[in-house]
Subunit: 384 residues, 2 copies
Amino acid sequence: MFIANKINLRIPGPTPIPPAVQAAMNKPMIGHRSGEASTLINEVSERLKPFFGTNEPPLLFTGSGTSVLEAAVINTVQPKEEAIVVVTGVFGDRFAKILTEYGVTVKRLDVEWGKTPEPEAVKNMLKQNPNAKAVFFTQCETSTGVLNPIDKLAPIVKEHSDALVIVDAVSSLGAVPFEMDQWGVDITVAGSQKALMIPAGLAFAAVSQKAWKVIEENKNPKFYLDFRRYRDNLIKGTTPFTPAVSLLFGLDASLELLEQEGLPKIFKRHEVMKEMTRSAIRALSLPLMTSDQDASPTVTSVYQADGWNSESLRSDLKNMGIVIAGGQQHLKGKIFRIGHMGYCDPLDVLPVLSAIEISLKKQNVALSFGTAIQAAEEVLSTYV
Amino acid sequence: MFIANKINLRIPGPTPIPPAVQAAMNKPMIGHRSGEASTLINEVSERLKPFFGTNEPPLLFTGSGTSVLEAAVINTVQPKEEAIVVVTGVFGDRFAKILTEYGVTVKRLDVEWGKTPEPEAVKNMLKQNPNAKAVFFTQCETSTGVLNPIDKLAPIVKEHSDALVIVDAVSSLGAVPFEMDQWGVDITVAGSQKALMIPAGLAFAAVSQKAWKVIEENKNPKFYLDFRRYRDNLIKGTTPFTPAVSLLFGLDASLELLEQEGLPKIFKRHEVMKEMTRSAIRALSLPLMTSDQDASPTVTSVYQADGWNSESLRSDLKNMGIVIAGGQQHLKGKIFRIGHMGYCDPLDVLPVLSAIEISLKKQNVALSFGTAIQAAEEVLSTYV
């Protein structure tokens, strides 16, 4: 019934690869120390600036997103120093794990999964831990689908502390506004396979002048993830170690697509996909994991409820060529997650909703076909 | 005269990408936690074993070659412990730099660049440093074009010491024999963009049972480069952090090509390309950097001599669409290097030699066109 390998990839990253990006990755290989490579490296770093909202040139790493999470830790805080981590899910917890591994004293602000922290709670953490050298946030917590309001949280840190503000924007950068310089964020890290629409393997870090002062004094041993090596080489139009050149070709092309669409329209597109998805899930009376206020425009999590099974639902969708994600850690088998980011537009959301209706009905949930679609169309029609 | 972007990439990595590998990297993106991804991860690890000459499943990393050089260091030796590094060029020196960064006491055996170490010298180093926990070698030293005889050197370590034998095989694995288990190598690291014929971004490490015992006791803080995480996840058919999926698609296809050709023929092909190149360079009376015995089948270095300039030569070749490499560090402007590895066959060597003749004549070196080609053809004709 369905065509093999015709996949609707609707997990919260990687996203499908746009044909123009795929084509760019087919360019003949070049030497990574060539003039062409230098031009490419300089240009993509420059063109990434608006996505981070910074005047500092983003550094380019070959690695998974976690490589730059670790880099953000080991370049800034030292053993026995204190760091605050706002944990809203798996990836906040990952920051805490990395910090613990390196002997940093971790002060966790654990927030119920599916929620964002109260500003008061962050303020109290800062007051109770005046020696904290850095505060770690996750912008979009991919594991739950919350978008932490960095625009509000970073200024709170700046007001009450001298700590660095470090943000994991892996699954949100390029899909939602990020104003690093304006908000007072010191280090922002991101990856390639989410809203930037290229395969995994590149990672990025933008670093404030304030953070560079701390980094210069940092004594941790480090080599592959030493920010200074990347900065010093970027000035010379290169990377300290062999970059993933084919992915840089892809990044060049994806930036072209993103620039053509323009950031305001990209952000609006993701907002609309979020609203459509949430409105449809509500119309089906399924329990959304996050509030309207906390919801990320890139991923929507839905709790499993009585009468149907989320893993059966994922399996039914898979048979129709639609791939969505399940829950991680203690949420395994308890939620499903729909990714709507990157190379995905409002019409791409509709088949997911139809397939969910079909699976639910198959699982004997009482519903009328079209309920979810109708709600999503109501949202979409107000924008077209 | 020449077609733009029709490049003869003859640097010692990256190599050109075979069309079948390029096509494989165009497959639709898949989720990295999917069943398809698990199958892919398990299969490529299994199929890499013969290239390493080991029964231990090679671990898969997303990173440059240097990421696994660092991993080999931080998983095995601890601050203040001793390690011996046999330095035959830039990449041996890189091991020493990483070890120094992590506070390991480095005992360097510096070998004149362009040469391999005398077995006696290695033996003496082992005797003088009985506490060394590991001995680091570089199989092919890309910066000079020597192939260190790991088959002879590793057993010397085993005979005189209990130290781990750790080998960087980045620019040789898949082009020359490597018998990790038979030779007694404990950790072998490699990268994707050399003889494995895919773009940079994947890195590999194979680890012996003896090394695992040391790794289990290792107390260094580490996260992204922690071998144990990769081993424990590989058993479950996955990677601890998001892998570069498009490069895994490429690896799958390149392994297919390599398996079709078969290791004996691959090794022979590289031997022939080496012999052709060396014979041609000799016919032109240019000074080879390495002896026949020390020369690597993957890269040939040639010293600049009176009457012509190596950077002018590289520039002339570039104008003809041929990219070769210059020297690194103190060899900058003093040598040129021809890569003949990966997606490169004997006929691909010939245009490089012709272009060298043309550039030398342009630089007023007395020679008859065809001198180098004639010598190369003499070699090739004995094999076809």
